[in-house]
Homo-oligomer: 198 residues x 2
């Protein structure tokens, strides 16, 4: 089955847009999606940025909010900026990787993005993550314990290194065979079409 | 008639993509296009960048070239990176503004982008610009003299200040009524749809 890797940071606004529609588009084209969370923070820092470019460059940040509002409205998605932007997405990314091990990464990530960019929640809060896990019928304490394990910490670090090594500099990015990269929610259709042809 | 302003820098690769298709899309929707060249250089410098972000961030630059190759191929457009990137687009922008006065800005800009990103020409060269003017049946010497006038220099400076003042930080950007901004060739359809509804 053709496959496509979906690279996202849980703090990324445009990754929210893709998370909410990627499985529907992929299923329609017979493409299998691998969900891979990573952290943009270390990649940005190695470029000399201490925060999101949307904060460093205010005109770009204002534009992003308006662009998100328009696109979310056209897709009937709720949208608001979270109280803290960018969120510290470390905990959510580690929990997502527990979901990758256990088979619930996609619904967890959709839930986390919907809480963050649909309701303004701060996904750095343990209580927010615990609520999301409960909604999925999971036991927060054991999942959070696993998320704090060395295995999972290393898994996330490796994902981030892998992303950077393969030329990824923003999120969402879609990759085919670690070679062909497509950056941005606006490239999702092209990425799926590319994967389907391989 | 509904109208949309097309802000572009003649050194901008993605502006090439829009220049080659905007009139066709706009005519189809009954939207009139105002072509407004400006310079990204001064805006970038005030953000602390001495060159294009595609040069400052190599991963982003490599990605842009690949993204342009794919999109150009899908639209049957030739594409190559010019020898000098970003080109010094000052002369070409001033000549374009003479074209705005005299009614030939659109074919001149399409010609300049096609020479630059279709054939790799350096649009900073007077000879390249003179050839483009000859192809349009114009007299290069008188156009270049007008392009060097204080009026035209001031016109370009005002366009650039106007763009920055209105929150423009990249090219191409499409604006409706100086308020609603759409950034990037991938937002062209949305911009035209927005303008058509006003």
């Amino acid at each position: 089955m053709p496959s496509l890797t979906f690279w996202f940071d849980l703090a990324s606004s445009y990754s929210y847009l893709s998370a909410m529609r990627i499985e529907g588009l992929a299923a329609h084209s017979g493409v299998e999606i691998t969900w891979r969370p990573f952290l943009l923070g270390p990649i940005f820092r190695r470029q000399g940025w201490e925060t999101s470019p949307f904060n460093i460059y205010p005109a770009k940040g204002r534009y992003m909010v308006r662009d998100m509002q328009r696109i979310a409205a056209s897709r009937q998605l709720p949208f608001c900026m979270p109280a803290v932007f960018p969120a510290n997405s470390l905990l959510a990314a580690r929990v997502a990787l527990v979901g990758a091990e256990q088979g619930w990464i996609a619904p967890f990530v959709r839930g986390a993005f919907a809480a963050e960019f649909g309701k303004g929640a701060d996904i750095a809060a343990h209580s927010v993550i615990a609520d999301l896990l409960l909604e999925l019928g999971l036991e927060p304490q054991s999942v959070l314990a696993r998320a704090a394990s060395e295995d999972i910490k290393l898994f996330l670090k490796k994902n981030t290194d892998h992303a950077e090594h393969n030329g990824i500099f923003g999120a969402p990015t879609f990759s085919c065979d670690d070679r062909e990269l497509f950056w941005g929610d606006d490239r999702l259709e092209a990425a799926i079409a590319w994967a389907a042809k391989l």
